[in-house]
């Protein structure tokens, strides 16, 4: 099947079998090394990508469903904002918020989705967003701390219960 979509700012027209998942297309054929296959059961979040503005599990989406959409992988997150490093990446690197690194690109995508909004957020909101991403190494604490610091530095943090 013919599919046309934008990947990290570039338009692509491809011929793809209907049964191929977006994750497989991105990782195996389009060399998006950040799209990691952790479970292919839609749970772990390691294959998360932005489709338009929404973080999705690319293992649960067929490649053909990306037709006409704008797909951003972790490789393209910084470029999307016109920088060399995205704020989320810088925050995670600053806190050393990874060990093995396998979950990290999915985490970047999930947090990027949250950062892209403009509403004030609580630590609970961050926990909720991050609870869709499995990390077996860090215990999540440095990831949470990194992102909460980033929100605080941009005036986006809000105390619990003040909504």
């Amino acid at each position: 099947m013919q599919v046309g979509f934008e990947l990290n700012g570039e338009h692509l027209d491809l011929d793809v079998e209907a049964s191929v998942s977006l994750a497989d297309l991105l990782h195996s054929r389009l060399a998006a090394a950040s799209v990691h296959l952790g479970c292919e059961q839609g749970v772990c979040g390691a294959c998360a990508v932005l489709v338009d503005e929404e973080a999705v599990r690319s293992c649960l989406m067929l490649a053909v469903q990306a037709d006409g959409r704008r797909v951003t992988t972790a490789e393209g997150v910084a470029r999307r904002r016109g920088g060399r490093w995205s704020e989320v990446e810088a925050a995670l690197v600053g806190k050393g918020a990874f060990q093995c690194g396998f979950c990290t690109s999915g985490v970047v995508v999930a947090l990027e989705e949250l950062l892209a909004g403009d509403e004030p957020l609580t630590r609970e909101d961050v926990v909720e967003q991050l609870s869709g991403q499995i990390c077996r190494c860090t215990g999540y604490v440095p990831i949470l701390d990194a992102f909460v610091s980033l929100l605080a530095s941009t005036g986006r943090m809000r105390e619990e219960g003040g909504r």
């Binding site: 990782h27 059961q41 772990c44 990874f98 690194g101 949470l144």
Partner: protein, 797 residues
């Protein structure tokens, strides 16, 4: 699907910062155009005689290049000898032969052009099974007439060992109180986020078989591959790319790793196998699944008089290589009451085979259940004796004055002060925090009012057997684990250094720690040291990365090599400066002779050594200018004290850990950020073991937990507030390791299983129940609370 596009050279910056945008290179990222894909036909039955395996339809399926069953490998692939059965080796044929023993056991290997073709073809295999009644628990495995899980083993009791001394029965008979209980930890598995994977190619140019595997044990894997292929070890090279977590799972050699290597040689093609999560959960390795029966005697003042223990592990249908079925039973036994004075003790440990997934290592190994069992018994005894839980520990914990202490079951404790670790933890607690009162109180927690959460506090103090040496493995009858680790340090022509390690990193951050430590010994900037590991082609042979080996075994070897090289640098400088060795002075990177007139920089010295201006005399000036180091002195024993506060919802019985406080004493602290990172990650993993993670089988031996929706691992919402501190006290540094470090990889997990487990038991007790089994899932907690009247049971006299 078309061929894979070449990978862009995207490595934004050095170090782990590259991970934020897919700059890591895991096995899946090494797949290039033309790489053939391997899949496995796996058993649908837990126990069956295997008739004909007909692969003709598989072979004619589109995109399939080849398919092999056990019969096709006859004479082409040697079996791997593994330990399974009382003191015996048997031949592991890697593909099932004659029978299948667990669901998911590999039966045939299928090679094709892409994953889709291979997966479809695997479905076409026609396998004749003659199903037998599966043996799925300890009782049926040991009952007469159940039959054998593996005929070759000769028994379903495939491991048996005892240890201990003294007259335990007499001591128990005269004890004031005897705690007699059976503790359980469920079947669990490590679940690194990256599944297993291996890519292999027989290089025609070098004649070397290159095996790229997501492994923790490259050198042991090389030995296994060379054994099954009958090739000289020198012609097999194992390379470890980025590894997406190991946690013990990847310190087993997988049948698949050997089979993929064989297929690469047999077909002369680059081949890859990427495990999927179903395979990982069903057929990699599970862990734990054990019970610990403790009888512990206490005198009226609360001192322990005797421990009698029986550890029984359901090891599943197979051994693991290299650690073998000795792993979990031995490790559990060795960790019981490890931080406590125990006058008389005896432990019997058994491994029992069943038709379930083979078990292997998972972070903490036997330490986790041993900690839970030990500390739960102390809580029970405190209650029976009318003492506080804090006091009974104070009376029994080892102190520095006891060192070295010959523990009757744990072995020699060389240094440490568990009592001090407990006092430091308690002394640093916020006096208002609810847990201080709970552990000091003589009374059990009051029953909560209707509708209020059940609260419980758990307190544990334990040691972790880090970095065992060869003596430990030989005492378990295991000869497949070397036990040592090794390093070499080389001065290069440009005046920088390379360090080659026998370990393999899986994200722990070995490189940064090693670089700084080695640079300090050599007196150079860390930026002038390059660390290489995970490559048998370049690195010295050793054991690998598990059981907190890095900071102890591996770093000790590197520091010894560095010290030797540092001395040799002075000898070389003396030769260059034409003076005596003891006249050489060193100031930073400049060496000078006694008179101070002659000077040579490190970079000039390196250049002089590698580009000689005439023939040289003297061994000490020969190149490569390198020294090696070796370490085999383990184990070391770090100590940790941990407190957990849990709450259990009175309606749903959902438990939540509210807070954890811990104090870790792991000898000299090399890098506090790394220590805290290991503790945090370990604690959250241990919370999973204590609350969530549990593999379950159906009556037919099918795994019911084959997705991450059924096998639950902790997420960000399970993380409590953590108050972690590290105690670095010169008196407690290890004398066995070169740096004084003791290792910190497992403490978080072991501690959280014990502390959260004991806290859950207290919460359940407040509702009149009793909990000796983990994980504390809502169903198990509900049943425990419903078993009213269980209170006080298991305490005699």
């Amino acid at each position: 699907m078309g061929p894979a596009a070449p990978r862009p050279a995207l490595r934004p910056g050095p170090g782990r910062g590259r991970h934020t945008r897919g700059g890591g290179r895991y096995v899946a990222d090494l797949v290039t155009s033309g790489t053939l894909v391997i899949g496995f036909v796996r058993s649908s039955f837990a126990r069956a005689r295997l008739g004909q395996v007909d692969l003709s339809r598989v072979r004619s399926s589109p995109g399939v290049v080849a398919a092999y069953g056990a019969g096709d490998l006859e004479g082409l692939l040697r079996p791997l000898p593994v330990r399974f059965g009382p003191g015996k080796l048997y031949d592991w044929h890697l593909l099932a032969k004659g029978s299948v023993c667990f669901v998911g056991e590999p039966i045939a290997l299928v090679v094709g052009v892409d994953r889709g073709s291979v997966e479809e073809a695997c479905e076409l295999a026609e396998v004749d099974y003659e199903p037998l009644e599966p043996i799925l628990d300890l009782d049926s495995a040991r009952s007469a007439g159940a039959g054998l899980v593996r005929e070759e083993a000769g028994s379903n009791v495939v491991f048996l060992a005892s240890k201990g001394s003294g007259d335990v029965e007499a001591a128990l008979a005269s004890a004031e109180v005897v705690v007699d209980r059976v503790f359980h930890l469920a079947r669990q598995s490590a679940c690194p986020l990256e599944n297993r994977g291996v890519l292999a190619e027989d290089e025609s140019l070098s004649g070397e078989l290159v095996v790229c595997s997501s492994t923790q044990i490259p050198h042991i894997l090389r030995t296994a591959v060379s054994t099954v292929l009958g090739r000289p070890e020198g012609s097999v090279r194992v390379v470890v790319p980025d590894v997406g977590g190991g946690f013990g799972l990847k310190c087993q050699v997988a049948a698949e790793e050997c089979l993929v290597a064989w297929a690469a040689c047999h077909l002369g093609r680059r081949v890859v196998w990427l495990e999927d999560r179903w395979e990982n959960l069903v057929a990699s390795n599970h862990a734990h699944d054990e019970q610990v029966h403790l009888r512990v005697g206490f005198a009226s003042d609360g001192t322990i008089t005797a421990v009698d223990a029986e550890v029984t592990v359901d090891v599943g249908a197979h051994s693991c290589y290299p650690l073998s079925v000795a792993l979990e039973p031995s490790s559990t036994a060795a960790h019981l009451f490890g931080s406590y004075r125990v006058p008389e003790a005896r432990v019997r440990s058994l491994g029992v085979a069943t038709n379930k997934c083979p078990t292997g290592a998972y972070r903490g190994v036997g330490g986790s259940v041993a900690n839970f069992a030990t500390e739960r018994s102390l809580d029970e005894a405190a209650r029976a004796l009318g003492m506080s839980r804090l006091e009974i520990r104070r009376r029994n914990l080892l102190q520095l004055a006891d060192m070295p202490y010959a523990h009757p079951i744990g072995g020699l404790v060389d240094t440490g002060d568990p009592r001090m670790v407990l006092e430091e933890l308690v002394g640093g607690l916020d006096p208002e925090a609810p847990w201080l009162a709970a552990i000091q109180s003589l009374e059990p927690a009051p029953s909560p009012a209707e509708g209020e959460a059940l609260l419980g506090v758990g307190l544990v103090v334990f040691g972790e057997h880090s970095s065992p040496g060869s003596e430990v493995y030989r005492s378990r009858g295991v000869t497949e684990v070397p036990g040592y680790d090794a390093a070499s340090v080389e001065l290069l022509e440009d005046g920088t250094f390379a360090v080659y390690l026998s370990s393999a990193d899986a994200g722990q951050g070995h490189g940064d720690v090693c670089r700084q430590q080695v640079a300090d010994v050599l007196g150079v900037a860390a930026g002038d040291v390059t660390v290489v590991e995970g490559d048998t082609g370049r690195c010295p042979r050793g054991t690998g990365t598990f059981a907190s080996r890095f900071a102890v075994a591996q770093l000790s070897a590197a520091l010894r090599a560095s010290a030797r090289l540092s001395s040799r640098l002075v000898e070389a400088a003396a030769a260059r400066l034409s003076c005596e060795v003891d006249e050489v002075k060193r100031d930073g990177e400049v060496f000078s002779s006694g008179s101070g007139d002659e000077r040579v920089s490190l970079k000039e010295l390196a250049r002089w050594l590698y580009v000689p201006d005439s023939g040289r005399l003297g061994r000490s000036l020969e190149v490569p200018f390198a020294e090696s180091g070796y370490w085999d002195d383990g184990p070391t024993l770090p100590t940790c004290a941990m407190l957990a506060l849990v709450e259990v919802d009175p309606e749903t019985f959902q438990a939540r850990v509210r807070r954890i406080a811990a104090l870790e004493e792991c000898g000299r602290v090399l890098d506090e950020a790394v220590v805290l990172g290991q503790l945090r990650g370990g604690i959250v993993m241990g919370i999973g073991d204590a609350l969530l993670e549990e593999h379950r089988y159906s009556e037919t031996g099918d795994l019911l937990t084959s997705t991450f929706m059924d096998y639950l691992v902790p997420t960000a919402s399970d993380v409590p507030r953590l108050d972690l501190r590290v105690l670095d006290d010169d008196r407690l540094h290890s004398r066995r390791s070169e740096s004084g470090a003791k290792g910190v990889g497992e403490a978080g997990t072991i501690g959280a299983v014990g502390a959260v487990g004991c806290a859950l038991a207290e919460a359940v007790r407040a509702a009149g129940g009793s909990l000796d089994e983990l994980p504390g899932t809502p169903l198990r907690l509900f049943r425990s609370c419903a078993s009213q009247g269980a209170e006080g049971s298991g305490v005699l006299r």
